[in-house]
Amino acid sequence: MTTLPADQREPGRLERSAIGGVLVREIINFSSYWRSTTFSSTVEPTIYLLAFGFGFGSLVSVVGGYDYIDFVATGTVATAVLFSSIFPAMFGTFIKYKFQHTYDAILAAPVDTEELVTGEALWLAMRASVYGCAPLLVGLVFGLDPSWGMLAVPAINFVAGYGWACTGVAIAGWLKGIENFNYVTSAVITPLFLVAGTFFPLTGLPEWVQALAQLNPLFHCVQLVRHAAFGWEGWADVWNFAFLIIFGLLMWRVAIAAMERKLID
């Protein structure tokens, strides 16, 4: 690789110091509200897990070859990742843009929209990676057998969380008002959440729904986590992981485009 003289070089894109600055802001802010966020991000999936695990668990003991509580504990990991990345991304982005004018301050510094979005998504992905492990830990307490594969779960969570965070940023960038978030939540997020094999296997659903589920990143995340816990399934998991990476990269660019449209006129 040849190095161009300074005057011919493009002004740096995706610079580490710029992304780092955005991350530092988030991390320092997090120190002022981590308690409530951690509470809701860990307690909520735990409640789901216990309610479904014991509620349905009393009716069905084995699903898809797994103990039902084990089935739900692994499935809820993906849900926890989804909720702890897409919602803070949607609301956080909108609030920082519209009400706190934080982005005006950041973009006046040597930080571009691309770096801003990347930093925000990286931070949410890290958070989701950690919060996503909560259901698994609760599951372990309730009898889920530990396995080495589970050590891959934070990495799976990170990749999925990055994609969801970018999706949330893109939604916030695309929608005009915060009241419109309801449409997205009801029409997009809820179906994605339910048709992902989290609480029940997809095999009972009509075939066209099963086919559509293949396009649902949450489904691939659920599959991966389950296989990490109960045993990898070779190429199927390579595909699941590849799908999440493609999803993340795609939504990353969509989020940047949406925010550039919103922030730069």
Binding site: P11, G12, S17, A18, G20, G21, V22, V24, R25, I28, N29, S32, Y33, Q100, H101, T102, D104, A105, I106, L107, A108, A109, P110, V111, D112, L263, I264, D265
Partner: protein
């Protein structure tokens, strides 16, 4: 009115301009917010961008950080062409926004830490940079206070201090004292004056005439998106309003009559709300109307040049 003809008020070669806009245009649909604006801030100078609401001041400020992209014209900041090279310019420039966008749940010091990272202050210098700003903003004792707990004046000082964390060569101040009481404004003026004395180049948008008169070496008066006058405040007053103004009071009907009479005589006038100020009387000799005589000021020029109707 044509101060722009041939008009660099600073008589310095263009290479040392901290900031230069030439023939800049920005349209939003049918609305032309900035319409062929020329503006220069020489290195080390303090320039006021003066204009009524809606004159294009805020749009201009946003263009200098490339958050708004001009449709036409050229913008150079600290030797960097915008918008392509904007990031390099932003690294050496401090921006004080009109709207307070501090992180309110963080402490004073935490806000500065965040910005020391965003502005890439090297790790070894961060601590000193923060101490320096706490000193400038006189917030040393409040370093651990949350921004929520600060008074309006303290928040503004922090907002200005935050923009100085990386010792910028150029500072943009967008309406720095809007909505503050006189005591706080004086405090901030002292702070801005300190920057000026340190050789920092400053562009300040304002619609407070006194602020521009006290702080700026030169002002550019903008109306409907373009510059209508450029020069040192005292020169502008001398040129457009003359030494003295005569204020004539009367009923609203009477004021309208006076306006017409003065127009016939060829004297420029401007309304003050309660009276008519007659300007341009330097050569009037005996033709000057009777009334309350006072020195002409920048406000007279401002109202004269930007029109009286509220946009």
């Amino acid at each position: 009115m044509n101060d722009r003809a041939g008009c660099d008020p600073f008589d310095v070669p263009s290479t040392v301009h901290a900031l230069e806009l030439s023939h800049v245009v920005k349209r939003y649909g049918d609305i032309t917010a900035v319409n062929g604006l020329d503006l220069v801030v020489p290195e080390g100078g303090c320039v006021g961008l003066l204009g009524p609401n809606g004159a294009g001041k805020s749009t201009t400020m946003r263009m200098l950080t490339a958050q708004t992209i001009a449709d036409e014209g050229q913008i150079t900041v600290l030797g960097h062409e915008l918008p392509g090279d904007s990031k390099a310019a932003r690294a050496r420039m401090g921006v004080v926004p009109q709207l307070d966008n501090l992180d309110t749940t963080l402490t004073v010091e935490q806000n500065l830490v965040v910005f020391s990272h965003l502005y890439r202050v090297p790790k070894a210098k961060r601590k000193d940079a923060i101490e320096r700003v706490l000193g400038i903003a006189n917030l040393g004792e409040r370093r651990d206070s949350k921004v929520d707990e600060l008074s309006g004046g303290m928040r503004r000082r922090l907002l200005i201090g935050r923009a100085l964390i990386h010792q910028p060569q150029l500072v943009l101040l967008d309406e720095p004292t809007v909505g503050l009481d006189p005591q706080v404004r004086q405090e901030l003026w002292a702070l801005i004056d300190l920057l000026r004395s340190e050789g920092v180049s400053i562009l300040m948008s304002t619609h407070y005439i006194e602020e521009a008169e006290r702080l700026c070496d030169s002002v550019t008066i903008v109306s409907h998106g373009s510059a209508v006058a450029v020069g040192a405040p005292t020169d502008l007053v001398a040129e457009h309003a003359g030494r003295d103004a005569v204020e004539i009071y009367g009923s609203p009907e009477r004021l309208i009559e006076i306006e017409a009479e003065m127009a016939k005589e060829g004297f420029p006038t401007r309304r003050t709300g309660t009276s008519i100020a007659v300007l341009g009387l330097d050569d009037a000799a005996g033709r000057a109307p009777a009334g309350e005589r006072r020195p002409a000021n920048l406000e007279d020029v401002f109202v004269l040049l930007t029109g009286e109707e509220i946009a």
